[in-house]
Symmetry: C3
């Protein structure tokens, strides 16, 4: 990985860990719960990706992320109100993490020999599954599935598709990852800023059960 | 796979996807949530089976199911009330899917070299885990575990056991799968029709915590 | 495995299965739900460990635990109030199971070639994940993450770390497992007895969301 990728990954892990630790505080967990939720959010996507691909989880081979997760946990432990007030900055970093994790996961899936459609699926899971696991452990319906959430999965899918197509051109992998990740981050941030949401069935459907 | 098996699998995937998308509507998710829940319900069982057996997930090798899941999602998106009124038909198709997924999973487990008892376990998981994941993501206790549900796991276990025993006779695999799957579907439909339920501990136990 | 280890494992599986079945009773599940929750609690940790390590799940190779889980389910089905009154004994056995599962999982992770830090992580997951899956399937926030729970993950981590360090000395594996497992059980029981809890962020943080 290039220095740029390492830096972006660290930002993403940190932002994901902050969101996990903040969720744990909301749910009245102790410091153990904060660390676990921070770790699950930060590495859950990559872990799920590696299990799907039959790879030994990267998170078990090079656990440098522990340190970032621990720092994020401590910051939220002592300054949760400050972090909460910086929510916009956290969301920006989260978008960077989403973009990079999606792009990295798509690339790994292609390297393992998956087809493009399958790689887009695995890439999206790699970016999104951490937050889904965080919400499930916190006893909530995953936020990315709810109708009150700004687009999250859609930019992920689009960016992974962009990368899967671009990778067939023989362009160099490293810059492509950064480019596709940036595209995801930008669309996600635009969605946050402009309030873009995915369509939902009409309210009448709500009575269905 | 024979044409019959392919047709039955498509029916099962479609029915499972409908149930996932309907659950998403009930939980006020957007179209992304509907697609994710439909997909998880339809392929979650096979995915869990493959992870348990250490196989590359079949859902990643031949993603024809995307199309069926997308169609089911769109149908529920636009006509959720109609689909809801056809609930009995959906439950019938769900029973067909349960039977086939259980029978296929048991066969795969036996082919991988598992013992009969283990194959019954994996076969049941292959049929049931998709619905369990659907309910967990929707923030509900899995319906197959609740005391108000008609028999679902029990016919699955019985059919998988039937298949595991029959496979020792050297009979041809294809017809056995259809036969065992049909047996599961019939018992499940009888349970729905007659209101058969598994025993539950006496109400006095409810105070336990 | 030595006779001592086999006996301790059986005690742990039994205690974990009891806690799963009791949770199912609380959640008004039927006997199917009781068995599933008992099984998930008893073997979920080892299963998660094996998936993380890329091993064929031990639970699928030698399903002797079915019998213990079935017995525990039946006992809770008929005598849930009695079992509930013996809660302290169940918690003691649970501590024994936690200790042994953590120690076994750490050892397996080291044997597979993981580094010490990674082995501590996998060891803790092997001891704790069963209870986490139980709580998720029951629709609850995992008890080990909540601020009202006596130390559970902390003794697990400490014991796994003790074992990971001790294993570098070349001491014999079997006694080390029993020793580290006993250390975990003792610290867990002390935490229960003395009411030790992990620190939690100040209440002011609670308003964060």
């Amino acid at each position: 990985m290039s220095t740029v990728e390492i830096g972006l990954t660290a930002i993403g892990v940190f932002a994901f860990a902050l969101s996990g630790a903040l969720m744990a505080v909301r749910k009245e967990m102790d410091v153990v719960g904060m660390f676990v939720l921070a770790a699950v959010t930060a590495v859950g996507g990559g872990l799920t990706r590696d299990l799907l691909l039959g790879l030994r989880p990267a998170a078990l081979q090079n656990p440098w992320w522990w340190l970032i997760v621990a720092v994020a946990t401590l910051i939220v432990f002592f300054f949760s109100r400050v972090v909460d007030r910086l929510r916009r900055a956290v969301l920006l970093c989260d978008a960077v993490g989403l973009g990079l994790f999606c792009a990295t996961s798509t690339t790994i899936a292609l390297q393992v020999g998956l087809g493009q459609l399958e790689a887009i699926l695995v890439g999206t899971v790699g970016g999104v599954a951490g937050g889904v696991l965080r919400d499930v452990l916190a006893g909530e319906i995953p936020s990315v599935l709810r109708r009150d959430t700004q687009l999250y999965v859609v930019p992920a899918v689009l960016g992974c598709a962009l990368l899967a197509v671009a990778s067939t051109t023989g362009l160099d992998g490293g810059p492509l990852i950064v480019l596709a990740g940036a595209a995801i981050a930008v669309v996600r941030i635009l969605a946050l800023w402009r309030g873009w949401k995915a369509p939902a069935p009409r309210p009448g459907g709500r009575t269905v059960r």
